[in-house]
């Protein structure tokens, strides 16, 4: 049995009511795990693009992609992790920022190429984009104890080069 790994599955889905529930329901029904899920319409408004990350060994992920392909509304599907790809996740994070902390958090945000997008007397809200690892590293760097709230979009991804996922 091969090792469990994180996979990014990207799906072109008919933009119809109920389509998303079939995808999500499939994971619950068959005992698969969803780590992150992000979905929005594409430039073609009849299609949604859905990106999900899941963890499993090779045969499990193969079964997941096959089961997803059985859904009538799944138009196309790619496992991005099988080839070179770009992945991004956006995080908004509220951190305690008082006294010397204020400069330190700003410096750390700069290092991670984040931006402070909102300020109050005791709180900074930082916006950060990158791989999931990078976002986790930022939280580690500022110290989890000063984190008040985080919200992450989940992973979006696209393959490198000329390969495209389209009709």
């Amino acid at each position: 049995m091969s090792q469990s790994q994180r996979h990014i599955i990207s799906i072109l889905l008919e933009n119809e009511p109920g389509a998303l529930s079939r995808v999500v329901g499939l994971f619950a029904q068959r005992g698969y795990n969803i780590e992150t899920l992000t979905v929005a319409p594409t430039e073609d408004e009849t299609l949604s693009r859905l990106t999900m990350t899941t963890i499993g060994n090779e045969s499990k992920v193969e079964q997941i992609t096959k089961q997803l392909n059985r859904l009538i509304e799944v138009v196309k599907l790619v496992n991005l992790t099988e080839g070179p790809h770009i992945e991004r996740e956006l995080m908004l994070i509220k951190v305690k920022a008082v006294g010397a902390q204020r400069a330190e958090i700003k410096r750390t945000a700069d290092v991670f190429r984040g931006q402070v997008v909102d300020i109050s007397s005791s709180v900074y809200t930082v916006q950060l984009t990158g791989t999931s690892d990078k976002l986790a590293a930022f939280i580690e760097a500022i110290g989890p104890s000063c984190v008040l709230e985080t919200v992450r979009t989940g992973v979006s991804g696209i393959s490198r080069g000329e390969k495209v996922l389209s009709l």
């Binding site: 109920g18 499939l26 045969s59 079964q63 392909n69 059985r70 009538i72 509304e73 799944v74 138009v75």
Partner: protein, 574 residues
Amino acid sequence: MELLSGGDMLVRALHDSGVEYIYGYPGGSLLHVYDAVYKQSHVKHVLVRHEQAAAHMADGFARATGKAGVVMVTSGPGATNTVTGIATAQTDSIPMVVICGQVPSHLIGDDAFQETDMLGIARPIVKHSFRVTDPVDIPEIIAKAFHIAETGRPGPVVIDLPKDMTMPNERFEYNYPKKVKIRSYSPPQRGHSGQIKKAVDMIFEAKRPIIYTGGGVVLDKSSDKLRELVDELGFPVTNTLMGLGAFPGTDERFLGMLGMHGTYEANVTMHHADLIIAIGARFDDRVTNATGKFCPDAKIIHIDIDPSSISKTITADVPIVGPVGSVLDDMLALIRSSDETIDAEALASWWKRINDWRPRHGMRYDKNEDGLMKPQEVIEAMYEATEGKAYVTSDVGQHQMFAAQYYKFDDPNKWINSGGLGTMGFGFPAAMGIKMNFPEDKVVCVTGEGSIQMNIQELSTCLQYGIPVKILCLNNGSLGMVRQWQDMNYEGRHSSSYMESLPDFVKLVEAYGHVGIRVTNRDELPQALEDTFNKYNDRLVFLDVKVDEKEHVYPMQVPLGSMRDMWLNKTERT
């Protein structure tokens, strides 16, 4: 240009889809549609007594013909009552179109009277589902529903139809699409030629081959091609519970059913094979036993239209995704045009080994001397009485296994059972659906006193429409399969497996206007069968046959073992 109401369009579209019968039950949200049904004569409605039976009737029809059966039920409880029937069809890949009424659109989400989220409830047990949001779409949705239900790996499709989509006074242009196109749905049409070539190479190299086929061969109507392949190769064949009849049960090359209650020779031949050619079968847990111990020497060719069936439980060496019939055609052509031949010498010695295993087969039983019959001998007698040509439906349990083992099906689409989901209450309505469409054929429901009571209300439907099916009830006064497991694994503690307070079935069926015959002794059976199939040929006959409650189904694979690990009877193990 013809203008039709939504209700009229629905009925017209069903007619244009080739539908003769719909099975259903009316209710508030469907009254406009039922009025549309009333006003025409092409599409006939069959009123069941419980919606679950409507789904099983449609299912029986579909299994016998390959065409989608149609169910029509009202919103709320009408819809939810079909759930077991839909799941039964989904598990066995049976085409079905289920039209569910729904409360008017403006009430959806308000917890209105008889409102339920049928699309949500049915989502995990359908191939696809639709909600009608504009009456103009009705013909196209119906056409798409049939297309999806019947092509690729078949399955049930649910259509949620809010009442305001069918208003009699709102009329629209009717357009039934000549051709259905769904951009995200294109089932495979051919197998990959490179893979087929690899498979044929393996066939030529094989020393100990076996062909293992399932319901997919029946569904793709490829039984003739399977027979051609076996004629060409001379390999042994085994069928799954769902695949019986795809290859003649009386043929010398047929080893019987395989799996949990399969024959000794089928399971042992599988175990020792060096090549398994799996055709339209899915290596289900009732076939493989422990997957880690499954057929250690075998290379596997797996032909299936659904890629998700391939390498799901057992890894295939040569997967071939495609329709069974087309792949078999391509394989046959390649085999016939090849310079190579199969290894005849190896095959002869393989057959010698198989024929040595055959006498050990576990499908034997001893008859009681006191005249109390074993269930097996009842099936054998019914096989003789119907000359092996009946449509046989079954419920679920011991009687199902005995029917599968002892009725030798020579033709596909004749053995109709809920193999995957294991739905008690399936057999009787399924038999009704078949009999209505094949009035000249013998249709027998093999059942038990437990299962038959799960849809016995349909005796009333049979009287209304004159559906003379034959019900063969193997009455052992207990839930036999449950009891068997309790005997084997729970030291005979028969927890809730004893059917106390059974009705007098003869009186019951007579009350419904049919014929009941009770058989308690072997001597009475021949006359009872004679009366059932001749004297009362045009009547529904309920044959209540008392059988030995102590009998177990054997052979039976030992749990967590390999294919060949079996109990052959209560005391003998392989």
